[in-house]
């Protein structure tokens, strides 16, 4: 045994182990070390050939690939449909959260969220039909709002749907006030402006102090609309030659022509008080 331990073979082994330890120390945790680079260069060609020859994807027959392609197309269509559903649900959720905030700020409101079912293509003032009717306690003249302000009022109701006349329509007349200058007037649609999603704040006095950028809100006097609902922002002040009065052009905060989700205020404090007193 002693002879074996002193033999040249053992000395060679010890030398090789020493070299291996040195190599280990210098290549351990070193990216692209000379050893792996050398072995990689030596085996690259062979590995490349064998990897290509066993590539399952390349070996699949045409019919199988075609079938797989069809399946993937179907799967893709399903996923696209699901994605659309997801976006719809997400959008609706976001909108309902905004109505939730509106309700929280005005606890006296009874809100009925509704979707736009259809739009009247022949109506230039963007009136539309909602998917809520008298079965959801919606009545004629109920205000229709979004989280950004008034959109219009309910003009016709049946059991499951209702028609809304927007603030772009001349049929609408809402008593309003400029929150900054305290000037009052009537918001009513105008055929000259409705195509640009604009309405007018008319019947202003000659000494009015309405300025661009002022915010117009409801007064709540008529009993049709709650007080302090936002209508929009003044864009310009004009003079009506026929009526000999000033009016302001107002831009609502929502694009009424494209709106899809609104809420109907079916009850609020002071609703119909003037109308009742008028009877």
């Amino acid at each position: 045994m002693k002879e074996f331990l002193k033999s040249n073979s053992v000395k060679v082994l010890v030398c090789i182990i020493f070299v291996l330890i040195m190599v280990f120390v210098f290549t351990h945790n070193v990216q692209n070390n000379f050893l792996s680079s050398s072995l990689s260069s030596l085996t690259y060609g062979l590995s490349k050939v064998t990897a290509v020859s066993t590539d399952n994807e390349a070996q699949k027959p045409y019919s199988e690939l075609q079938r797989e392609n069809e399946n993937l197309k179907k799967e893709n269509a399903d996923l696209r449909a699901k994605l659309v559903d997801y976006y719809s649900a997400k959008e609706e959720n976001a909108r309902l959260w905004k109505f939730y905030n509106l309700k929280k700020e005005n606890p006296e409101y009874t809100l009925v969220p509704a979707m736009v079912l259809r739009r009247d293509a022949n109506d230039d003032f963007s009136s539309f039909t909602l998917d809520k009717g008298s079965s959801s306690s919606v009545k004629v003249n109920d205000p229709v709002v979004t989280e950004n302000g008034v959109i219009g009022r309910v003009s016709e109701v049946d059991n499951n749907t209702c028609k809304v006349v927007t603030i772009l329509s001349p049929q609408t007349s809402i008593g309003c006030i400029d929150k900054k200058s305290k000037d009052t007037g009537i918001v009513s649609g105008n055929a000259n402006y409705s195509n640009d999603n604009l309405t007018t704040f008319a019947k202003l006095s000659s000494d009015n102090k309405v300025k661009e950028g002022d915010i117009i809100t409801t007064t709540g006097i008529s009993g049709l609309y709650p007080k302090d609902l936002i209508i929009g922002e003044v864009e310009e002040i004009c003079y009506d030659n026929f009526d000999t009065s000033f009016y302001a052009v107002v831009r609502p905060y929502d694009d009424i022509k494209t709106i899809t989700c609104v809420a109907v205020i079916t009850e609020f404090t002071g609703q119909g008080e003037i109308l009742k007193s008028g009877d």
Partner: protein, 171 residues
Amino acid sequence: MGKTNSFFRYLAYAVEIILLFVLETTPNLLPEIFNAKPCFLLALAISISVYEREIPSMIFGLVCGLLLDYSYCGTVGTFTFALTIICFILGYCANNIFSANFWGVILCSFVVISLVLFLQFVFSYLLPIGTNAWLFFRNNYISRIILTFIFAPLFYFLNKFIYSRLSSAGN
């Protein structure tokens, strides 16, 4: 004549090593059985060592270990050290202590395969990772040890054939 035979024998071993390395590392070629693939080169190095002397055994062990480590971690590692030393010892023992009979080699293969793979497990998983390492050993290494051991008799007979053809005529 003896040197020529030795050259062809070593060449045959080298071809075996290359073929088994390709077989082992080609993707999608060998199926995984119980989460593991066999270590052909480990079984081959043992079967070469029982027929060769210390130095050639050690060199083939070193080459097999390097290739195994290269495919596992890209540098010198457990397989290289373990196979270099174990093949050297096996080469010495097979020539001086016991003869290379079937059952002796099978027993020897089982012990060496288990020992080397266990060492690899210790240095690659148990020490650096620790948690769930034994679960990994149970799920992966036991099956790898068994699969590698299954191929040991095959390489034993193959190298016995090569040795008998390329050494007796020359020696």
